[in-house]
């Protein structure tokens, strides 16, 4: 009964459909940003280097290099402020967490391209 009731409460905060994307994908994340009274959509694009947590706590980390400076953002997957996640390009990866990219600079940051069904169609 315990987990049943917790799941029932959490289910109200879960998104019914989460776009499919994988570790190493280059994604465009559209997020809702509130500036005073105005609400606008901002797109953050980069490589998905980690996916963590379960259920309502699930998050993913997107890394990109802006002007020689690595920038990482952690998005809660089910947050209403994360409007859309578009997988643009799949990367060749052999592990679930790409933290080694943090040590790399320049051209070596890039991952080899993998042709995957969920990105090709777009």
């Amino acid at each position: 009964m315990k987990t049943e009731l917790l799941d029932a409460v959490e289910s109200g905060s879960l998104k019914s459909k989460v776009p499919h994307f994988e570790i190493g994908d280059t994604v465009d994340v559209s997020c809702r940003i509130k500036e005073g009274a105005k609400i606008r959509t901002q797109i953050f694009s980069g490589t998905v280097i980690a996916r963590k947590g379960r259920g309502v706590n699930e998050t993913f980390t997107v890394r990109r290099v802006i002007g020689n400076e690595g920038v990482e953002r952690v998005f809660p997957l089910h947050s209403p402020n994360v409007l859309d996640i578009k997988a643009i390009r799949s990367g060749k990866t052999r592990r679930a967490k790409l933290y080694f990219l943090r040590q790399r600079t320049g051209k070596s940051v890039r991952l080899g391209q993998r042709h995957s069904a969920h990105t090709v169609s777009k």
Partner: protein, 215 residues
């Protein structure tokens, strides 16, 4: 004033309408049958006696079983009284069942529970004392309480300790009230009440939920 008995299920997180993540506690509240109605004529004060969660008859004594039978219900594990205003007549009758829908109009609730036992705890944990430095020559007293009295500071006590001096000792496993939790949602089908923040006690512990004075 609305009150229910219930059980803490556990904590989780939900999003509100603005996309903020809220820490919430899920409470299984009610249904609570009214086991007895106390009135000023018969008992000197107005109150409702509520029960929560069935228990095997073999676990209860005969007077308790008969008391429950009077209200046409089964013996309950958790029985508490809800004090009412002495002037107005109680609206409920024996045998009525109170469900979580009593909190439908309520914005804030207080939750009362038995906190988790911490065992014999030192003054730093129990009373938030600062302790002593880790270094600078401090030896064997890093978490000690320091001086507890002196003849000068306790003038009139004859060199004895002041009453109520904060010292190490048993901590936790006592009745705690946390006030003014926001009511996040109510599920009348599953008898679930979701409140913001943490409430006292372990998951599975019994709690009393009542509408807050704030609302």
């Amino acid at each position: 004033m609305a009150m229910l008995l219930g059980k803490k299920i556990g904590m989780t997180q939900v999003y509100d309408s603005e996309g903020r993540m809220l820490p919430v506690t899920v409470i299984h509240a009610g249904p609570c049958p009214v086991m007895q109605v106390k009135t000023t004529e018969t008992d000197g004060y107005n109150a409702l006696q509520l029960g929560y969660e069935d228990v095997k008859e073999s676990r209860k004594k005969k007077p308790q079983i008969a008391h429950a039978a009077k209200a046409k219900t089964t013996p309950k594990r958790f029985v508490k009284e809800m004090r009412l205003c002495d002037k107005a007549e109680p609206e409920h009758n024996v045998g009525d069942s109170l469900t979580v829908s009593v909190f439908e109009e309520v914005k804030y609730v207080d939750v009362i529970g038995i906190s988790k036992g911490k065992g014999f705890a030192g003054v730093m944990k129990r009373h938030g004392f600062g302790g002593f430095p880790a270094s600078h020559g401090c030896e064997r007293k890093h978490r000690a309480p320091g001086s507890i009295s002196s003849f000068a500071s306790d003038a009139g006590h004859g060199g004895n300790l002041k009453k109520g001096k904060k010292m190490a000792g048993h901590m936790g496993h006592c009745r705690i009230t946390t006030k003014s939790h926001d009511v996040i949602s109510i599920d009348t089908e599953r008898n679930v009440l979701v409140v913001k923040g943490s409430v006292p006690g372990p998951s599975g512990g019994y709690v009393i939920v009542r509408s807050s004075h704030k609302s």
